[in-house]
């Protein structure tokens, strides 16, 4: 951390920033669909970094993370759509969504404080399923979530008079909706990165890492494990809630289908595949896992046509097949993740010696 402001890292950060700012314009050349893919990739980076607080720093294996994302998305959908006729502004809903998700985080966290490892994993997984089942069924006798059909016509994010949907002209540039969301998401991701960085070396972050490594020892040296675990859940959940809100606004539509267990697993896979607890690793994992399926989607079909003259295998299942195999292979050859933190790498080397 100490050389964050050194010459080299300043230049590096500058170059990366320029590249990130230019990216949506480059992607637009390949089509707006790719800008949208980029948006989702950044959204996943945000989610993965939120989960990294819970799993990577505090070591709490959370398989129900998507529930908080769902809570955020539904808060937005209910407060800013014709469904209830409410159209609250962005700055009101964002904190509400984060707060409600945070509340759910504490709700999930409090009964699970005694649990650890796999028991925690299955309980969080169950929690995620419970939330999904309610979203799916709370349309009768009182219609709250509109059931499996989901809620449509959700308001886009708007700051003052500036809307994030549709195209606007800024300084002679035409910015499309997805491009505007890209910059919003980029700002949010920068925020979560700063939070992650600050947490990592703070008193709280150190305490979390102590709990992760050995909970009993952590307790013995006077760390309040109960409060800190709750804090981890609450914090991770709040970020999930914010991501969900932006997702709902960006899509204009939410339905329970977007919040299946598979999504939770996917986000966990991003964190683990990239390198748990290591910010650049988590970002890498999230970008790879969200972009790879899209590349396969657009690559597998045409490739088959080019090779055999027709579509031999269903590209959709082939794409998931390749994805599953990639997960297996990466873990086989890089079990600590693609880009583990230097400390973790050292610890692993010592453990296997």
């Amino acid at each position: 951390m100490k050389n964050l402001f050194s010459m080299r890292s300043t230049v590096g950060i500058g170059l990366i920033s320029v590249a990130l700012l230019a990216l949506p314009f480059a992607a637009a050349l390949a089509g707006q669909a790719w800008v949208r893919i980029l948006d989702y990739a950044i959204l996943y980076v945000f989610l993965a970094l939120g989960l990294n607080i819970v799993v990577g720093l505090a070591g709490l294996l959370d398989l129900g993370y998507i529930a908080f994302y769902a809570v955020g998305a539904y808060s937005w959908a209910l407060l800013a759509s014709p469904h209830f006729g409410l159209h609250l502004p962005f700055w009101v809903i964002l904190p509400i969504g984060a707060l409600v998700a945070c509340l759910f985080g504490v709700l999930l966290g409090s009964p699970t404080l005694k649990l650890r490892g796999d028991y925690l994993a299955i309980v969080t997984l169950g929690f995620g399923e419970i939330v999904r089942i309610f979203m799916n069924n709370l349309n009768a006798p009182i219609n709250i979530t509109n059931g499996p059909q989901g809620i449509t016509l959700i308001d886009p994010v708007a700051i003052g008079a500036f809307k994030f949907s549709g195209t606007t002209q800024i300084f002679g540039f035409a910015l499309s909706g997805p491009q505007k969301y890209y910059f919003l998401l980029l700002a949010l991701v920068s925020l979560v990165i700063v939070v992650n960085l600050r947490l990592q070396n703070s008193r709280i972050g150190r305490a979390w890492q102590a709990i992760r490594e050995d909970e009993i020892a952590a307790k013995a040296v006077g760390i309040n494990t109960r409060n800190l675990k709750l804090l981890a859940f609450a914090m991770g959940a709040s970020f999930g809630g914010i991501a969900g809100g932006v997702f709902a606004a960006m899509q204009g539509f939410v339905s329970p289908e977007s919040f299946s267990l598979n999504e939770s697993i996917m986000i966990l896979a991003m964190v683990v595949l990239g390198g748990m607890g290591h910010i650049p690793g988590v970002i890498l994992g999230a970008v790879l896992l969200s972009i790879l399926p899209e590349v396969l989607r657009y690559g597998v079909g045409p490739l088959q046509t080019a090779l055999f003259g027709k579509q031999l295998l269903d590209p959709e299942s082939l794409r998931l097949l390749v994805f599953g195999l990639a997960l297996v292979l990466v873990m086989r050859f890089k079990p600590a993740g693609l880009w583990p933190s230097p400390e973790r790498k050292r610890a692993l080397k010592e453990a296997t010696r």
């Binding site: 490892g117 169950g126 269903d314 097949l321 994805f323 599953g324 297996v328």
Partner: protein
């Protein structure tokens, strides 16, 4: 009162299927501390293989009972091979890796198997051939069929057989020793690789059997059917105390009965606010409540500081 008895019977049947699947999870977990997320997919493949094999044999004129038996044998064989292959390819290389790595591999394998199944059998629901004679019975106002009786009986016999295997044979002793302490067992001359492979193979065989029973019971099958089933069965295993064979069986049966009763009575209890489509919720609610008070499951031993 007759609803009560009826739901107990339905729950018992469903629960004995959960129990068989849960055994596969708990055996692997007990020995190597790994959640084999791909186990539900093994069950699914067992069902689909049976459909293909017995369907083909019935078409060429083989008697239904014989074709069913052949389908079952084929399913067990395929699933045993699958279990062995899974362990060999996906889990053995990761035995000394960080704890989360095999979890991700398991998820990867589950995605792979699901999509392979979709490529082979397609996206649609398949009809499971009626392999068992279906005779209706009535007892004290509750109805049940011969299929249900057979499912419960076969499950009970299989579980009894597994208990004999684990507590009366040399392989069983080796398994128990390995689950107690892997390095020490290996020093005592137990071939760890063989024991772990055996746990996967036996668990998968039980899964295949469960798959055939699910198919017979619901009369259809689908490439995604393994997912929820696996989740419930894993919940059952955790409920009973994961790693504990008897716990998995009791957990499975208990879960089945709770679900059936819950689905039967939730409408009355909540004044019609929540209906029977909330059935899937009970498994998870019960799980959370039990673990709040007994963090190691109903019949699990207190493992102290094990992470």
């Amino acid at each position: 009162m007759d609803i009560f008895l009826q739901q107990i019977i339905n729950g018992l049947v469903q629960g004995s299927i959960y129990a068989l699947v849960a055994l596969g999870y708990t055996m692997v977990y007990g020995i190597m501390g790994l959640i084999n997320f791909a186990h539900g997919e093994v069950v699914m493949i067992g069902t689909l293989v049976t459909i293909t094999v017995s369907g083909m044999l019935i078409k060429v004129g083989m008697p239904v009972a014989l074709a069913g038996l052949a389908g079952l044998i084929a399913a067990v064989a395929v699933c045993m091979a699958l279990g062995w292959g899974l362990e060999r390819i996906a889990y053995r290389p990761l035995r000394n890796a960080p704890r989360l790595a095999p979890l991700i591999t398991a998820i990867g394998m589950s995605i792979v198997l699901q999509n392979l199944a979709m490529m082979i059998w397609g996206r649609n629901y398949l009809v499971f051939p009626p392999l068992l004679p279906k005779i209706d019975f009535e007892f004290a106002g509750a109805n049940f069929t011969s299929v249900q009786v057979i499912i419960v009986l076969v499950s009970a016999l299989t579980m009894g057989g597994l208990l004999l295997l684990v507590y009366r044979t040399k392989l069983g002793m080796a398994m128990r020793a390995t689950s107690q302490n892997m390095p020490v067992a290996s020093l005592m001359g137990v071939n760890i690789n063989r024991v772990i492979a055996a746990a996967f193979v036996i668990g998968s065989a039980l899964g295949a059997l469960a798959g055939v029973m699910v198919g017979t019971y619901y009369e259809n099958a689908h490439y995604q059917m393994g997912f929820m089933l696996g989740l419930k069965a894993f919940t059952a295993a955790v409920l009973g105390g994961i790693g504990n064979l008897a716990g998995a069986m009791l957990g499975g049966v208990l879960l089945g009965i709770i679900e059936a009763l819950g689905a039967g009575y939730i409408g009355d209890l909540t004044g019609g606010f929540l209906g029977s489509h909330y059935q899937d919720i009970f498994a998870f609610v019960v799980l959370i409540i039990v673990l709040m008070f007994k963090p190691s499951g109903l019949f699990g031993e207190k493992t102290g500081d094990r992470a």
